[in-house]
């Protein structure tokens, strides 16, 4: 009994239960709409795992949302709800695109310049929110929602400026190739590279047909770094105390305002990094006029929630999320199920994760019941 209760109290258990619930709800939904859920799930898993290429696509797709997830999770640990990850992400893409087009240094210099400009843009954008919160007590949700729209329209504005707009398209020019962070990009496009890959079909699939890039390495490094920062350093202790109880933290001599500013700066920088890496690592390597948000930041919120605000957990939650999104595409083309099905599944999982607070409570009740009976 004790063991089960302890197991139930663990975050990971409740998350897994939530994921299963998501699948069950979707299975019911599929049955009701006349699709076989088993066939559908078969296709879904097949679309994720059946080829190395698919797994690689999932990892590529996961990179930005892992990072925006970390951004949201990190801010959450400091008691801030970073709904502005979307805007910070967009600022990251804008700055990276602008830098990538304007400069053309050798790759060793170009990549850091492009990526850092994205990081800085996102960081500054996050810091604005942090500053307003720390200095004037304006709620971060309100300011960051507004800033999301400002970033959105700023992006559309930059796309349409003479300097960056590629004629007869909806987007900017593509950034200079020296800024690309794809794995073996030059080699795989060269004649000998192609010839070599033609002889190795698996490598051909994984390397030539996808945008395999270094982004995931960055994402993992950031996840670990943020986890260490939060758990092992004095700064992390301060940040977390602010998150747990501002007043107590202040009483203990921690500068709450400074920590709020720093937290948003870091959260913004991480989201900006996600944007920059999308531009350098994935086609089309440019920004386009947007009609709606592309949801990288908002998906990051779901990822952070599924991960229970753990930076390391964000890696797995991001992979799950990306897998569902990518594999969901197969559902659409294979049995004609609408893409909304996948969105409902993700929504349900997030919903149940939010509900998982119930599981430990239930587990507690189990114990109490047991005690009563024992007497």
């Amino acid at each position: 009994m004790e063991k089960i209760v302890n197991l139930l109290k663990k975050q990971i258990t409740s998350t897994i239960i939530a994921i299963l619930c998501g699948f069950i709800v979707v299975a019911i939904l599929l049955t009701l709409t006349g699709y076989s859920p088993f066939e559908a799930f078969g296709i879904l898993f097949n679309g994720i795992f059946s080829k190395p290429k698919y797994i690689s696509q999932v990892i590529i797709k996961a990179t930005p949302i892992i990072l925006t997830g970390i951004s949201v999770a990190f801010a959450f640990k400091v008691g801030l709800f970073n709904i502005g990850a979307e805007g910070q992400y967009i600022m990251g893409t804008i700055a990276a695109t602008v830098a990538g087009i304007l400069f053309d240094f050798p790759p060793v210099l170009q990549i850091p310049v492009v990526v850092l400009s994205g990081v800085c843009a996102g960081g500054i954008y996050g810091a604005i929110v942090g500053f307003l919160k720390a200095k004037y007590g304006i709620h971060e949700v309100i300011t960051s929602i507004m800033l999301n729209w400002i970033a959105f329209y700023l992006g559309n504005f930059v796309v349409n400026t003479q300097r960056f707009h590629q004629p007869d398209s909806t987007g900017t020019y593509i950034i200079n190739e020296s800024g690309f962070t794809m794995f073996l990009y030059g080699w795989k496009r060269s004649e000998e590279g192609k010839a070599f890959l033609m002889e190795h079909p698996v490598l051909l699939d994984v390397i030539l047909k996808t945008d395999v890039n270094f982004g995931i390495v960055f994402a993992i490094i950031v996840a670990v770094a943020v986890a260490i920062l939060l758990k092992k350093t004095t700064k992390g202790y301060e940040l977390r105390s602010v998150g747990f109880n501002k007043d107590a933290a202040e009483f203990a001599g921690i500068d709450v305002k400074k920590n709020i500013l720093h937290a948003m700066l870091i959260a913004g920088a991480v989201a900006g990094l996600a944007g920059a890496l999308t531009i350098t690592g994935m086609s089309p390597h440019k920004i386009s006029t947007m009609g709606t948000f592309e949801n990288y930041g908002f998906n990051g919120m779901s990822v952070a929630l599924i991960a229970g605000s753990s930076p390391i957990g964000c890696i797995f939650a991001g992979l799950l999320f990306a897998g569902l999104l990518y594999g969901g595409g197969s559902l659409q083309s294979a049995i004609g199920a609408p893409s909304e099905i996948i969105n409902i599944m993700i929504g349900t999982i997030v919903f149940f994760v939010a509900l998982t607070k119930i599981v430990p409570v239930l587990a507690d009740k189990l114990v109490k019941r047991g005690e009563k009976h024992a007497r």
Binding site: I43, S50, T170, D211, S283, E294
Partner: protein, 361 residues
Amino acid sequence: MKKRIIALLLAATMLVSLTACGTKKDAEKDTTEGTTTEETTGEDTTAEDTTEKVDFSVGMVTDTGGVNDQSFNQSAWEGLQNLQKNTGADISYLESTQETDYAPNLDKQVDEGKNLIWGIGFAMADAIITAAETNPDVNFAIIDNAYETTPANVTGVMFRAQEPSFVVGYIAGLTSKTGKVGFVGGMKGNIIDQFEYGYRAGVDYAAKELGKEITVDVQYAESFSDSAKGKAIATKMFSSDCDIVFHAAGGVGVGVIEAAKEAGKFAIGVDRDQAYLAPENVLTSALKLVNVAVELVSTEALNGTQIGGQTYNYGLAEDAVGIPEENPNMDPAIYDKAMEVEQLIKDGTIVPPYNADTYGK
């Protein structure tokens, strides 16, 4: 009692998860078998249901508008559905929600063994080229884009949108009572130029026929989605004496039509018959029948015609553009005249201009 419920719930979850695992494996096995046969036999993907089906499969990838965009993605999908009805070809679509989805989605369609893959909209131009380079044995086609050098396995599809624009311009010129009409464009570029200058020329043609001056008020929304801006622009046009406004601006046009409804004036729709948006206030629509083009090109490919390496140009002659047959708000006499003009364009007697250079020649 509660304990039992919990236990029951847990048991149920376990059971479902177990069965889910089991079937997953089976399904996986099935499909992997499927893929191995696919690899060996090449393109035998429709093997499952061979009931009177041609061995030809067409896929399409939408742009970020999605398949229910009330515009060209939806139209293209309708074209493919029609193709399936007429020929029994296997069809499917994949929606893109982000720009970065284009390449993976095209790749996914390639993996499914499609013979022909459509990219809908010129935003996908670069993604199509890359996919075509890495998959030389698959045919690709793209709507609204002409490449300078078209690879052998890529087909571009363009529309002579200036032709229906000329016709609706002519209709607007004849219908206008104030002698002033408007045009709302999305963003300046080759495609929208076709609409603008075709329309201008049509209005001029009507003005010459009537022997009076008709001015065209042109404004760009710098967006394809901001319907509020479309409404603002059109409202301003209507209040400054325009009585008919034509739009070529995607989602912006919804606002234009709304403005016409509120002002009690006329708007002219684009791409599809947009009369349903405001039955009393849509004069007519300049149709660009993506579905017809998609079906025509797909059918040609299905029949074994070599379609790659070139750009198809569709206009009135192919019935891929035009105006709707039913126009309840239009004077029937004007409709008849418009049909005559349409015939003249088909004959080549009138060649509508498609940009600033050809306009006024």
